[in-house]
Subunit: 407 residues, 2 copies
Amino acid sequence: MDKKTLQNFAALIVDMGVNVQKGQEVLVRCDVGNPEFTAMVVEECYRRGASYVKVEFSYGPIQKLSYNYRTIESLSGVNAMDLEVQKWQAESLPCRIWLDSDDPDGLAGVDTEKMAKANMARSKVFKPYRDIMENRNQWTIAGVPSVAWAKKVFPSLSDEDAVEKLWEAIIKCSRADKDPIKAWVEHNVNLQKRCDFINSYNFEYLEYESSNGTNLKVGLNPAAQFLGGNEKTLQGVVFNPNIPSEELFTSPLKGSAEGVVYATKPLSYNGKVIENFGFEFMDGKVVRVIADKNKDVLEHMIRMDDGACYMGEVALIGYDSPINNTGILFYNTLFDENASCHIALGMGYTNTLKNFEKYTKEEQNNMGVNDSTIHVDFMMGSKDMNIFGITGDGKCVQIFKDGDWAI
Amino acid sequence: MDKKTLQNFAALIVDMGVNVQKGQEVLVRCDVGNPEFTAMVVEECYRRGASYVKVEFSYGPIQKLSYNYRTIESLSGVNAMDLEVQKWQAESLPCRIWLDSDDPDGLAGVDTEKMAKANMARSKVFKPYRDIMENRNQWTIAGVPSVAWAKKVFPSLSDEDAVEKLWEAIIKCSRADKDPIKAWVEHNVNLQKRCDFINSYNFEYLEYESSNGTNLKVGLNPAAQFLGGNEKTLQGVVFNPNIPSEELFTSPLKGSAEGVVYATKPLSYNGKVIENFGFEFMDGKVVRVIADKNKDVLEHMIRMDDGACYMGEVALIGYDSPINNTGILFYNTLFDENASCHIALGMGYTNTLKNFEKYTKEEQNNMGVNDSTIHVDFMMGSKDMNIFGITGDGKCVQIFKDGDWAI
């Protein structure tokens, strides 16, 4: 990818993504494979007056060695060093930039149960710090190719060509090919307009129907609303948590989903790719996991904690989305979730509640936003999906017709 | 470089370098440029029963951005996260492996004074922890090519060819080309024999003479001895702190060096390359810095703290050393210091004192081992250097003749 485009992309991540404020600190998490691009991002942060940019490089195969060789006790422990990094995030509220390059098959062969147990134990220790941070610091996730990821998406190409092709797709899907800042300003305005429109109906629930067998009712939370595009920290700093982002999303009412939903794209979870799966819901809870292969991974996932089997998010994206139109399956949630309507199991977004900042975390959860240590998105939009919004007085509005926005 | 050779090299670093013990933790510090080799080292550690291997990747250009953009106050501060990593090293005594890939010109253009002040401030905070660790945990430094380093050594080659050529040189100089473990067992025996021989004379001082103007007398410490090759932690674990290592070294008697010494190879310090320089000593202290260019870097260096202008080490290496015989200037202390007799300014090695473990750090320094936050080696061996050892009763023994061992 040419240097100018990469620099524009780095500036997009720093300006629109986290919107670094003068004097603020920044944490960048990334793969070792793109140090030059990481350095561009770091320099953009400093140019905007960041006081300190901490970069944490990682390399998937070393993480895999760790899961394979370390004992469950060792993996479950949180050492003082890791805790200090978490404390820093909760106390100094640095911007957090995650340059995602994960190999979709990176953890293949790892003992799923061992990994899940260890991650759950660690998540519990980190949770209080994460809760303190919520809605307080700017964060963003953007995609950056690694060879492993690029080869998964374009297996027939050489390493170099695959990486270049994935860069092209990422830049295009991230609306970073031509004047990215201008494109994102416009994009945010459009997403906001759509939010305003759908929120004006105050739907009581959504009904999903598709020829693949999906037949699902999801109760919406009267205290919540649909959000899309940029968000605002409690201090009022606007940021874009996802690059790309095409979705309108909300956190549904905990305990009120009924029916069956089938995934329409594979899910890459903990380094495993799970295809052809679905869930049955009753009283908002998963009561049945449907899967040909790797069913155990999903079973473990929904048992991670009490909230893991409830919905945390429903998101609406037209089938005619720029990402879906590339025709590329990215094997990466950030991209694939913005190509199709999806649902997440686990933690909900408390900032979807109106005036969320007036409530404690506990109150927010009591208001019907699910809580969990996990948040796993899966795609369920299809070409012939119809979605209806039903209001409290029984009015039915078709929101999606044949996979795309009807309004 | 072929995989088998790299695996043997990784095993050499883990077995002979740090000699990881079952259940021990390990800290690996390395450049982002060789993740596959780093993963080999990590796996060797786990195979030997390491309980946890922490890898800290770094990338030179990001460090440079940090020096250029951050304020001196910000750079001088030690945050709680960095301190926690230091505490862990002092308390859990992990093996420390440093895979050195530093670009010799990596910090060119950085404000030397700003960098020196910041480093000094940070060193002071870290020093108590470093002092606790001394001689307690196994550590090793080995060389691994980065593109930037390889291109400095072989500027006319392509990136790929330069890296391959540097790998070849590193593997050869590290005695890792054929059965590395066997080669190192033999090598350690030979270095020990030479140590025993030179220590048997109990020389009062060494006299260096060379046609380049070097004329220097260095007082030896009657309480100290020459060491070489492997070392032992206080717990009795044998390790090799340097791969390669060709030197016999000791910490001279603080306050008893007289005369002039000229460097015979460039010095790469804080990312700057300093050529054609020397020092004049009086009562053990540098009283004059001689340099055509970058003299300010050296002036700053010897003013880092009270001990920075005193010698910490003298080391003897025959001109006919395997590294010198490659004819390659590595622009890297680990290699270049093992190609030629050298001297270090700054911190001395307290473990050169006989029964050093019986004394406190303060007592060790009072016994004549210099203390400082710096330790900077420079090469001063030459093809026509003669070195004489003078005993307390006036006996003169020629140790080096025409640049090589005479005994």
